[in-house]
């Protein structure tokens, strides 16, 4: 059965481009379910496809001591949404490294819901956005810590670079904590390229466009440092960046 079409009144869809999503909703509506058994590991790399509208909806269940690491590049020409619902049992670890790279009138977003159900779970979400034109890049991240999920360690780090005045970055971390011995941190910043870094690169001979491209590459490429095979996603990110700089 097809899930009901979302409304912007729902918190996790508030920045979505629903007009673009509507015609293709049915083909995406059901989430994919992934299960990582006790003590097992999963590493996924998600690359953008060529479609104007791209929606990835994944439910991920991590058993005791399971580990999952996801590297995702979100760079749809019109609307890209990566939606993740994760549950963690005792000692499970989840890491998400995601980039929104957007230009024109595009909207790209991550919407995550991380549920710490067991003791000593660890989650780490790192999102970097590079946006120009009138592009929108968002992160809506909810972390829930269940009663009894003590020693949970949850981290959200979100940074965005806006290259034009019309670009918009949204960041909305949300915490719901029902245990008393947990560590949940979140940090967000929105900025422009550092002028002294630009001058340093230019003083070494790079023209302003090359210097900007290189600095933006540095901003994004750190995301893939821990991937087993960072080459493909690194190259895809580089190409997306080249398109917008």
């Amino acid at each position: 059965m097809t899930a009901p079409f979302p409304s912007r009144k729902q918190e996790e869809w508030r920045y979505a481009d629903l007009e673009s999503l509507k015609p293709v909703w049915e083909q995406f509506a059901a989430p994919v379910t992934l299960t990582v058994g006790d003590g097992e590991e999963l590493e996924e790399i998600w690359l953008p496809v060529s479609d104007d509208v791209q929606l990835r909806r994944v439910q991920l269940a991590l058993g005791s001591g399971a580990k999952a690491r996801i590297f995702a590049l979100n760079a749809a020409p019109v609307y890209g949404r990566i939606e993740l619902e994760i549950s963690l049992e005792d000692g499970a670890e989840f890491e998400l490294f995601g980039a929104n790279i957007g230009t024109g009138l595009s909207t790209n977003e991550f919407a995550t819901n991380v549920r710490h159900l067991g003791i000593g779970g660890r989650s780490r979400q790192t999102i970097r956005s590079v946006l120009n034109g009138n592009a929108v890049g968002s992160y809506l991240g909810k972390v829930e810590v269940a009663r009894g999920a003590q020693k949970t360690d949850a981290e959200q780090s979100v940074k965005a670079m806006l290259l034009d005045r019309g670009a918009t970055a949204n960041c909305k971390p949300e915490l719901e904590i029902f245990a008393d011995d947990v560590k949940c941190t979140h940090g967000a910043s929105v900025g422009e390229l550092d002028p002294i870094q630009l001058f340093y690169a230019e003083s070494r001979g790079m023209n302003p466009a090359t210097a900007r491209a290189l600095l933006l590459e540095g901003f994004v490429m750190g995301l893939w440092d821990t991937a087993k095979q960072p080459e493909t996603i690194g190259e895809a990110a580089r190409q997306s960046l080249r398109r917008i700089v």
Partner: protein, 247 residues
């Protein structure tokens, strides 16, 4: 080679340099000494073209070309190198990638062929070795996690790779221990002591000048050169202080 005439510079509307005149011919190393706040770093930055440093009067010619009309990257391609007092950290970009892009940008602009990855690594490795720097450090992000001394050594490695015609070195000696000071001094002599090159060495203390003998020494105070002399002037300054020597 570098010909500065009556240069006036303001930063955020405040005059910092008040008519600097200085001529560094090819084959010479000149030292600029002066107390804190005298305008030494402003002179370095304005020569390299840092935004926010506005020239209100005067000129600077480099090899007969109007230096002040060029963009920072054009100055680099023309052969000007600025050694930063505080080298900048750039996370996410390795030193090798940064320098290869820099050098090849310069070479493209001069109509020369680019160096391949292999050629570049060979060059970088040999220059790092000459400065006593571990090549592994060049695989790390630009200046991230480097000590003060390592950053300054890395600036000299960059200079060795770029082979500029003229170097403006802004307090390259600050933050160096004695071994690093010797290595950096030897690097400056090796890379820049040549009949067709020149150096403007900006420094606070005389100690670097024990390793790099300047042809001329100038004293900058309140944005003006108040005295010039031979290498003995640096020793006098060290002995008597700026207030005395500039009087």
């Amino acid at each position: 080679m570098l010909d500065i005439a009556n240069l006036h510079v303001s930063v955020a509307g405040k005059p910092i340099l008040n008519g600097v005149t200085l001529d560094v011919p090819a084959g010479e190393i000149h030292a600029i000494m002066g107390p804190n706040g005298s305008g030494k770093s402003t002179l370095a930055y304005v020569l390299a073209g840092r935004p926010g440093y506005s020239v209100t009067q005067g000129s600077a010619q480099f090899d007969g070309r109007d230096l002040l009309a060029m963009e920072p990257h054009e100055r680099a391609a023309a052969g000007l190198f600025l050694g930063f007092q505080y080298p900048v950290e750039i996370p996410g970009i390795s030193y090798l990638q940064f320098l290869r892009e820099s050098l090849n940008s310069q070479r493209r602009r001069r109509g020369e062929s680019e160096l391949s990855g292999g050629e570049f690594i060979k060059l970088a490795r040999s220059q790092a070795a000459l400065l006593g720097m571990d090549t592994e450090m060049l695989k790390r992000p630009v200046n991230v996690g480097f000590s003060g001394g390592e950053k300054k050594r890395a600036e000299m490695v960059q200079m060795g790779i770029m082979q500029p015609k003229f170097a403006v070195l802004d307090e390259t000696d600050s933050g160096l221990d004695i071994d690093a000071l010797k290595a950096v001094g030897a690097g400056i002599n090796r890379i820049m002591r040549a009949a067709d090159k020149g150096v403007l060495l900006i420094t606070h203390y005389q100690r670097l000048l024990d390793y790099v003998e300047p042809d001329r020494v100038h004293v900058l105070t309140h944005g003006e050169i108040v005295r010039s002399g031979g290498p003995e002037l640096a020793r006098e300054l060290e002995r008597e202080g700026y207030a005395e020597a500039a009087a």
